[in-house]
């Protein structure tokens, strides 16, 4: 007797075209926004805009500026932009750079002061203050906590990589200061080495390395997962956003129980051959099918628009899609059986679903969260569903590897449905 209930629900949904459209368009819209923001342009990561004022204009300061300019994560600005009123671009000064930070044009500005090149590098606190260079000023907007730290770190890196000859010269000076003067022969060897180093500095930089010098520790980066796929993050957001909207749709759809109880239709249905278990099972099947259809439409959208590799992962998608759909449908049934009115259902479902989505990774990847929150996230449907879809689409794992997610989601669906059935006894008899 489940099928007649499913059939009635399908007809009712088909009639409410606005609800039908919203249940598909809304999640697709949100998914697209997230996909475009976070996943669609991975090759063009946003750069930190940095104003650099080189008051010193020495070899060391130019080398430092050059190093910063060639760093892939920075967009170095040294002159004001050309204005429409034909004001010509002008080099930034100490005051105009500070004004630009205050105005919010950039978050960070570096002022390389006069005299920097005379003694650009100092080792340790015992350096002679009289011989130390005036410090570089880093002007920042306190509302941006990340950019100043990034720039400060990159500055240290560039000191090491962009101006090795300066570093070596400084090292020689310290050596002579603490060990005594070089002999003429030693001096000649040092000068030869420094000349070779300067020639190396003048070579054009390799792409992406930031400078011609490879750094103190040689590092070669190689992504072993998620690098070769087209839009690997798309699947993450399809699952993440999808589960959140599935939860909303499922709770709204399960709310039809409350409408039917209020109108007396539920009484009439239960006076027919259909009992409460059959009625709830029918609604569970319908809500599962609805949720699975929503997920399918969303992933098809991801395939069509964001080049998500859906068709190579059909078995994994089917397994995860159906398990996720069952779990969210049962969750919706539980909410509907807990609440007494539609208004209650709206408030409770919004609170619970947003909380679950926040800690379960639908809004923000769980691996970026504190460990305690990551553990708490394991109590949500979102986390297990997202983990499963990530295994399928990102890590290319076989369907058999999905067993933890399948077990948890199926068990969640069964347990929540059982609780919903128990709570629904209040409608059964009076």
């Amino acid at each position: 007797m489940i099928f007649p209930i499913v059939r009635t629900a399908i007809i009712a949904l088909r009639r409410d075209r606005a609800a039908l459209a919203l249940s598909f368009i809304l999640p697709i819209s949100f998914f697209s926004i997230f996909a475009v923001i976070f996943a669609g342009h991975r090759d063009s990561m946003p750069k930190i805009s940095l104003i650099v004022v080189d008051e010193d204009n020495s070899r060391a300061s130019r080398q430092l500026l050059n190093g910063l300019q060639t760093d892939g994560s920075l967009k170095v600005i040294t002159s004001t932009a050309a204005k429409p009123d034909s004001a010509p671009p002008a080099p930034y000064t100490n005051s105009t750079a500070e004004a630009a930070v205050k105005a919010g044009d950039v978050s960070v500005a570096l002022i390389i002061p006069r005299g920097f090149g005379e003694n650009p590098i100092s080792f340790g606190p015992n350096s002679d203050p009289a011989r130390s260079a005036p410090p570089i000023q880093l002007l920042n907007d306190a509302s941006d906590q990340i950019a100043p730290q990034m720039v400060a770190g990159l500055l240290q890196k560039e000191a090491m990589t962009a101006m090795p000859s300066v570093m070596a010269e400084t090292g020689m000076k310290y050596t002579e200061r603490y060990l005594g003067q070089f002999t003429p022969e030693q001096r000649k060897r040092v000068d030869d080495s420094l000349n070779q180093l300067r020639q190396l500095e003048n070579k054009p930089p390799a792409a992406g390395t930031g400078s011609g010098f490879g750094g103190i520790i040689s590092v070669k980066e190689r992504s072993v997962v998620g690098n070769t796929k087209n839009g690997s993050m798309i699947s993450f957001y399809a699952a993440a956003i999808g589960v959140m909207f599935l939860l909303f749709t499922a709770s709204g759809s399960a709310g039809s129980l409350l409408d039917e109880a209020e109108s007396g239709t539920l009484d009439r249905v239960l006076s027919s051959r259909i009992d409460m278990t059959g009625l709830l099972a029918g609604k569970l099947v319908f809500n599962t099918l609805l949720a699975f259809t929503q997920l399918t439409v969303m992933f098809l959208w991801g395939w069509a628009v964001f080049k998500l590799d859906l068709f190579s992962h059909i078995p994994g998608f089917l397994v995860m899609g159906l398990c996720t759909a069952l779990a969210v449908a049962a969750f919706g049934m539980l909410l509907a059986s807990i609440c007494h009115t539609r208004a209650q259902l709206g408030a409770v479902s919004t609170l619970l679903i947003l909380t679950m989505s926040a800690i379960g990774g639908s809004m923000f990847p769980r691996f970026l969260m504190p460990e305690s929150i990551q553990k708490a996230g394991l109590w949500t449907i979102n986390a297990w569903a997202i983990d499963g879809f990530t295994k399928v689409f990102w890590r290319d794992q076989p369907v058999t590897a999905l067993w933890p997610q399948v077990v948890v989601l199926l068990a969640t669906g069964i347990v929540l449905f059982a609780i919903a059935r128990r709570l629904a006894r209040r409608w059964e008899f009076s």
């Binding site: 007797m1 007649p4 209930i5 059939r7 009635t8 007809i11 009712a12 009639r15 409410d16 109108s263 007396g264 239709t265 009484d267 009439r268 249905v269 239960l270 006076s271 027919s272 051959r273 259909i274 008899f429 009076s430």
Partner: protein
């Protein structure tokens, strides 16, 4: 006009009497039924037997316990004590549910579905399919005079049409006993008449019906026997004529309206064996007389006491009079 043809497929309906109860089991037996909701006793020891093919009216004011009794018969209320048997099967059992058609007071339909889709849905819920379902849907639409609105969404139907469809949905599975819980609530007089015609068409086919109402004229028109329900009890159960005779014998009622000081009028009416009715400002009273000719002496005595009777009428007692007589309250209190 309302359909007079027999309900299709009735002969093939697997009724409860074939599977559970002996063929001679009466349509309904209610034995010492008690149902309490907290401190309130909604049904207080009701016993009732229904004969095959009769229409029993449950007449009583709102809150008398009629709907709780109906819901208990439909198996939707678990009694605290007592027993309900439908064609010998316990209320709520699958056999009882198959034999019962319940027409609830509320419009218990799916608003987004059409009239036809609603009937088909409830038919399927009752295990029907194929040709028998199609025939039954057609019969119901014809019976409710909704054939030309079959494709209309329920939410777009008028109040009277919804009521008629609500009734039809309760008959879609060819029940042998129909429970109608105030089916004319909130409908205009024209729609009410149409509903009466529908019920009379069913009655003509020998359908057994329980009809609850707080409109005595409906009970008088439609029902063979009438149970007067008050405070969860059946305080009288018989034909209309027998009920009136039991309360009033052959006496008639005289309704009079007075002009004069209220306290003095009330005292005189009580002394004369009558009772004040209506609001205090109206100064209306009711008297019981053996013969209509007693009106003349009533008028003379009022005039002698110094009161003017501005309006007087004679009427035979009806169910409302019986209810008033038995409970001391108006039926629509």
């Amino acid at each position: 006009m309302v359909q007079e043809a027999h309900i299709p497929g009735t002969a093939h309906l697997p009724g409860p009497s074939e599977t559970v109860a002996p063929a001679a089991a009466p349509p309904l037996q209610v034995d010492s039924l008690v149902k309490r909701f907290g401190q309130v006793t909604a049904v207080d020891g009701i016993s009732l037997d229904l004969r095959a093919g009769e229409c029993l009216g449950l007449l009583g004011p709102n809150g008398a316990g009629k709907t709780t009794l109906i819901r208990a018969i439909a198996g939707r209320v678990i009694p605290d004590s007592g027993r309900v048997a439908v064609f010998g099967a316990s209320a709520g059992s699958s056999a009882a549910r198959a034999a019962l058609g319940w027409i609830p007071q509320e419009i218990a339909l799916y608003p987004p579905l059409t009239a036809k889709e609603n009937l088909r849905a409830f038919g399927r819920y009752n295990g029907m399919s194929g040709k028998s379902l199609n025939e039954s849907v057609a019969w119901c639409l014809n019976w409710a005079a909704l054939e030309d609105r079959a494709g209309e969404l329920v939410r777009n139907l008028s109040g009277g049409m919804k009521r008629r469809l609500n009734m039809a949905a309760g008959l879609i599975h060819h029940p042998r006993l129909v429970l109608m819980d105030e089916p004319t609530v909130g409908v205009d007089p024209q729609s009410r008449n149409r509903i009466f015609e529908m019920i009379e068409a069913l009655r003509a086919q020998g359908m057994t019906v329980i009809y609850t109402t707080h409109y005595m004229e409906e009970a008088e028109r439609l029902c063979d026997r009438i149970a007067i329900v008050d405070h969860g009890r059946i305080i009288a159960l018989d034909t209309k004529e027998a009920l009136v005779r039991a309360s009033f014998a052959e006496r008639s009622q005289v309704m009079a309206r007075f002009a004069g000081p209220a306290e003095a009028v009330s005292a005189w009416v009580a002394n004369r064996g009558g009772r004040m009715t209506g609001s205090t400002a109206e100064l209306s009273a009711e008297f019981s007389v053996d013969r209509p000719t007693e009106i003349a002496s009533l008028l003379d005595e009022a005039a002698a006491a110094g009161f003017e009777i501005v309006d007087v009428s004679l009427r035979r007692p009806n169910l409302e009079s019986v209810f008033l007589h038995l409970t001391g309250r108006e039926l629509r209190d």
